[in-house]
Amino acid sequence: MQVLQAFAGPSSWRGVRAAPVVMMLLLMMTGSAMAQPAGGGLAPAIPGVATLAATTLPTGAWAKRAYDTGSTAWMLAATALVMIMMPGLALYYGGIVRKKNFLATMMTSYSALGIICVQWFLFGYMLAFGTSSGWLQNIIGWEPSRLLMLGVDPIHAVTGVPGAPAGGEFPVPETIFNIFQAMFAVITPALIAGSIAERMKFSAWCAFIFLWGTFVYDPLAHFIWGGGWLAQLGAVDFAGGTVVHISSGVSGLVAAIMIGKRLGYPKGNIIQPNSLGLTLTGAGLLWFGWYGFNAGSANAANGLACAAFLNTTIATAMAGLAWNFAEWCHHRRPTTLGIASGFVAGLVAITPACGYVALWSSPIIGFLAGVVCYGGAQLKTIFGYDDALDAFGVHGIGGFLGAMLTGVFASTAINTTAGVIDGNWYQLALQFYVAGDAVLLAAVGTAVIVWVLDKTIGLRVSDSVEIEGLDVGIHGENGWQVGDIPAPSAVLPGNAM
């Protein structure tokens, strides 16, 4: 193992010196009592709690170091695994919608792959993981050498990349860390598509994810993973319960409410999954890819990655059973969509926790995820909004639950953070505070972006396109042609008479 040097360097930068508007909002939300320790006093108060901040170097020094081939091998594989989550999500979402919107729904994932990867290349990586001078580092990355990836070392591992939590011992080249994180930036907005499915204009969608990635995801990732102000507080989020799931779920809810219900919802015949088998397959690919997401978030092929892998597996399996159990209690039918939804709920909830919690707690987290998210999916019926594919019900609720349970079950037996089970109630408060901040940022950011898009290019397809279906109406394509009537020829004139 070519570990030349451990992460080191003065972490003299402590307090949150700047106070931009958004922070004021955040403070308003949490109240001054909570804000006080957040300002600097908390972390030292808990002995033995090393935080994300401890492993970040906000000083901007990027130095080459040798990498470990084992960790590099795993991060290459893990990044590919996260990538397959997009085709997985496309199938998962695409299979649930009506036949006429099958392709358009899949397209939300594929377009996110295209758009966000390019945005990441342009400036997304810099915003999230670049270092900034002084107080700006709290808020956003601003480091021209990471713009257009011009200064990214193509070959070597480098020190000074904020947000490589476990990368100390067995580091990997910057390029693979970069693309691993790119995939997180892709999937997060892609998840939102579940809330606005079957009615949003494709142009508006493209603009939305570009803006949302820039103004919501990149800052939030910087706050928590990129050495920003939330990282200073000591809250932990192993693979993105807050950054990915709370943010996308809450944004989905806001977007769904603002864009309005699908025509006919909830009375019409809206719920006609065209192919639940593909949805199940998509859930399977999501689980598969999620191993890269969760175990890859160790940033190394180390024991922590293995523990995260185990926790992910057990929590997910249990959550599938729990969802089936909940619906069996409710209506006596354990559905296949139910087990798939439960799996996804479990994956969501274990995401922030998997690298922090004791092995024995993973089935508890999974069970709660399955049952609570089943409840979450009923909320839309109660409150009357149209979160079409339950992005909020599963990702929003499940992500919040996971962030809290991380605070409960975090154990110093597996990582450096103590939770309630180790007697550290502060961690739970911290988790709540940070999750609340993410809710606020996502809600406000989404509301502003959606409002702007509504006033400019417009959000919704026309009624006739919604009736005809987005596949034909927007993309000029047809999802299924499995009957025997030959499609009409392109050349016959006069048929339309």
Binding site: V472, E477, P488, L492
Partner: protein, 117 residues
Amino acid sequence: MKWIVAIIQPHRLEAVKQALSDVEVFRLTVADVQGYGRQKGHTEYFRGKELHVNLLRKVRLDIAVNEAFVQPTIDAITKGARSGAGGKGQIGDGKIFVLPLENVVRISDGTQGGGAI
């Protein structure tokens, strides 16, 4: 007895079904069909190649009714199937065809004729 065939827009099926219920016509058979008619089609694309699709997705209803129900059935379908704002019809809303029906047999109990409808 008459055999009424109606070709309607798929998304009007529910409203038609409701309108038929209102006139106490509860039994019918539904099928996926495609139709050429006056309605303009749409264009699909395959890697830059245009395909003018004029064969449009429709739903076909087959309804056997006794004479007394013929006109109510036609009226109900017409009411439910019109897709324009305020119940105005639009091109493509479809057609209703009335054919003579000579006999009906209910398989389960062998009942014949009008009573079996």
